[in-house]
C-alpha cells in the first residue's frame, strides 16, 4: 500500500488515474479507516486530499456557498454564514458521529461512501445541492442525489475526485430541516431519516419544497410526491398526513439489525412531518 498526499488537485487526479490497482481517496478517513481495519478493502493507493489547500475553503458564490471536499463537519458547523442559510444541512452534517468524528468527517466523504443511511445525503438532496467532480476528463457538476447508486457504490468514474459541494442561494422565507431516528441520542447510524427544504410565499403558503428520505431504500431518496403535497398548502394536519403517506409509499426498506420494514416505513412519515414543520417555522411561517 502507498500513501500519497499531493498539494495540487491536478496531481491528485493524475495519481488516481495512473493507479492500476485499487485506489481510495482519503478525506476524513472516518469511513475509510474503519474499512481498512476490518480488511473489507485492501487498497494499493491511499490518496489523502487534505493537503490540497483549496479543498478546505468555504466560499460565498452566487448567493450560496461552495464547500471544499476536505472541510470537516466541525469546521462547517462553525461557519455562521452556511448555518444561517442552510441550517438543516449543517444540522445533518453535525449529527455525524461524535465530536471526535466531526473533527475529521466531511460531507463529501459522507456522500461518496454511498451509505443509504448517510446523514448528509437527505439534507443535501432536499437542499438541491450540487457536487463538483474533478477528473481526467475535466470538471463536471451533478446533483447530490446522483452520487449514491447503491450501498457502497458511488457514481464516480476512475480518477475522479469530488472537489466541492455547492449549496445554492434561496429565496426569502425559506427554511430547511433534517431529522433522524436513532435509538440513542448520539453515536448511532440513522434507522430512518428525513430532510425537508421549503419556501413560503408572502401569505405563508408553501411555494416550493423538496423532500428526501434516508435509510429507507438502497440509496437516499428524493420524494417528489411528498414535496408536491406541500406546495400550495399551509401545512395543515391533512396536508402533513398526505406528506407522510407519500413518504411511506416511497419507502423500500429492508429488515436489518437497525430496524424493520414496518418501522422504517411508518417513522419515515413521522419524521418528514416533523421536519416539514420545523422548516416552515425556520422560513418564518406558522408552526
Amino acid at each position: 500500500m502507498r500513501y500519497e498526499a499531493p498539494r495540487k488537485l491536478k496531481r491528485a487526479v493524475a495519481l488516481l488515474s495512473a493507479e492500476s490497482g485499487v485506489a481510495r481517496v482519503l478525506a476524513g478517513g472516518t469511513d475509510l479507516l474503519v474499512q481498512l481495519r476490518s480488511e473489507r478493502i485492501e487498497p494499493d493507493l491511499i490518496l489523502d486530499i487534505k493537503r490540497i489547500e483549496s479543498m478546505h475553503a468555504i466560499a460565498a458564490e452566487r448567493g450560496g456557498y461552495r464547500i471544499g471536499a476536505a472541510v470537516s463537519c466541525a469546521a462547517l458547523g462553525e461557519h455562521a454564514g452556511v448555518k444561517q442559510l442552510w441550517p438543516g444541512v449543517v444540522e445533518a452534517a453535525t449529527l455525524i458521529g461524535s465530536t471526535q468524528v466531526q473533527g475529521r468527517a466531511t460531507m463529501a466523504g459522507n456522500l461518496c461512501n454511498a451509505s443509504p443511511a448517510a446523514d448528509a445525503a437527505p439534507a443535501l438532496i432536499a437542499a438541491g445541492a450540487t457536487v463538483a467532480i474533478a477528473g481526467p476528463g475535466g470538471r463536471r457538476e451533478v446533483p447530490a442525489e446522483a452520487i449514491c447508486l447503491a450501498p457502497g457504490r458511488n457514481a464516480l468514474e476512475k480518477g475522479e475526485i469530488v472537489e466541492s459541494l455547492y449549496l445554492p442561494a434561496r429565496p426569502e422565507r425559506s427554511g430547511d430541516a433534517y431529522l433522524r431516528l436513532i435509538p440513542r441520542s448520539e453515536m448511532d447510524i440513522a434507522v430512518v431519516s428525513a430532510g425537508v427544504s421549503l419556501s413560503l410565499d408572502a401569505a405563508g403558503r408553501c411555494s416550493a419544497a423538496r423532500v428526501a428520505l434516508g435509510a429507507v431504500a438502497p440509496r437516499p431518496l428524493r420524494v417528489e410526491a411528498a414535496a408536491a403535497a406541500l406546495i400550495g398548502s399551509d401545512l395543515d394536519e391533512a396536508v402533513l398526513a398526505v406528506l407522510a403517506a407519500a413518504c411511506a409509499a416511497a419507502c423500500d426498506p429492508i429488515d436489518d439489525k437497525r430496524g424493520t420494514v414496518e418501522y422504517r416505513t411508518e417513522v419515515a412519515g413521522v419524521l418528514a412531518k416533523r421536519a416539514a414543520v420545523i422548516a416552515q417555522t425556520r422560513a418564518g411561517g406558522a408552526a
Binding site: 472516518t30 474503519v34 481498512l36 491511499i46 458521529g97 461524535s98 471526535q100 468524528v101 473533527g103 475529521r104
Partner: protein
C-alpha cells in the same frame, strides 16, 4: 513495503518516526513511541479512548493514519499536566472520583480539555453531547460530567 518518514510535534516536542502506510496514529503512539496513555477500546472511532488533538482539533487517533501527522501538532494525555503540576481537570477528576477503572480517563481528559478551550461555561447538556463519543462503562458518566462542570467553574473564577 516501504515505511514512511514522518516529522511532527507531539505535546510540543519535535518528533520523528517511521511507520507503515496503513498504521494509525494510535499504533504509532502506543507501539512506536511508547506513549501508551492513549488507549484502544475499539479501533473504529466508537469509544473515544484514543482521543488526541490534531492541530488543536479533537479526533480519534485510531481514525488518523500515522503518515497524516507530518508537519502537524499532536496533543495527547501525556501532555496535559505541566511537569508535576496537574491540569485542573485532572485534579477535579480525582476529587470527584470521576474514574473507576480509569481506562476511559485519558480520552475523557483530552476531550474535556478541548471543550473547555472552546467553551469556558458549558451547560450540562453541552458537556454531555461533547463527550458522547467517549464511552465509560463504569461510572454512568455522572461524576465525569460533574468534574468537567466543576473544573469549568473553577477555571472561570481563576
Amino acid at each position: 513495503m516501504s515505511q514512511i518518514h514522518v516529522s511532527t510535534k507531539i505535546n510540543g516536542d519535535a518528533t520523528e518516526y517511521l511507520c507503515e502506510p496503513e498504521e494509525t496514529l494510535l499504533d504509532v503512539l502506543r507501539d512506536r513511541l511508547g506513549m501508551t496513555g492513549s488507549k484502544e477500546g475499539c479501533g473504529t472511532g466508537d469509544c473515544g479512548a484514543c482521543s488526541v488533538t490534531l492541530d488543536g482539533r479533537l479526533v480519534c487517533a485510531c481514525l488518523v493514519l500515522g503518515a497524516e501527522a507530518q508537519d502537524r501538532e499532536v496533543g495527547t494525555v501525556e501532555g496535559i499536566a505541566e511537569g508535576d503540576s496537574l491540569h485542573p481537570l485532572q485534579k477535579k477528576f480525582l476529587e470527584h472520583a470521576a474514574l473507576q477503572c480509569g481506562v476511559c480517563t485519558p480520552g475523557f481528559l483530552v476531550a474535556a480539555k478541548s471543550l473547555l478551550e472552546r467553551n469556558s461555561d458549558p451547560s450540562e447538556e453541552e458537556v454531555r453531547y461533547w463527550l458522547a463519543g467517549n464511552l465509560c462503562r463504569c461510572t454512568g458518566y455522572d461524576k465525569i460530567v460533574r468534574a468537567v462542570l466543576d473544573t469549568a467553574k473553577e477555571m472561570r473564577s481563576a
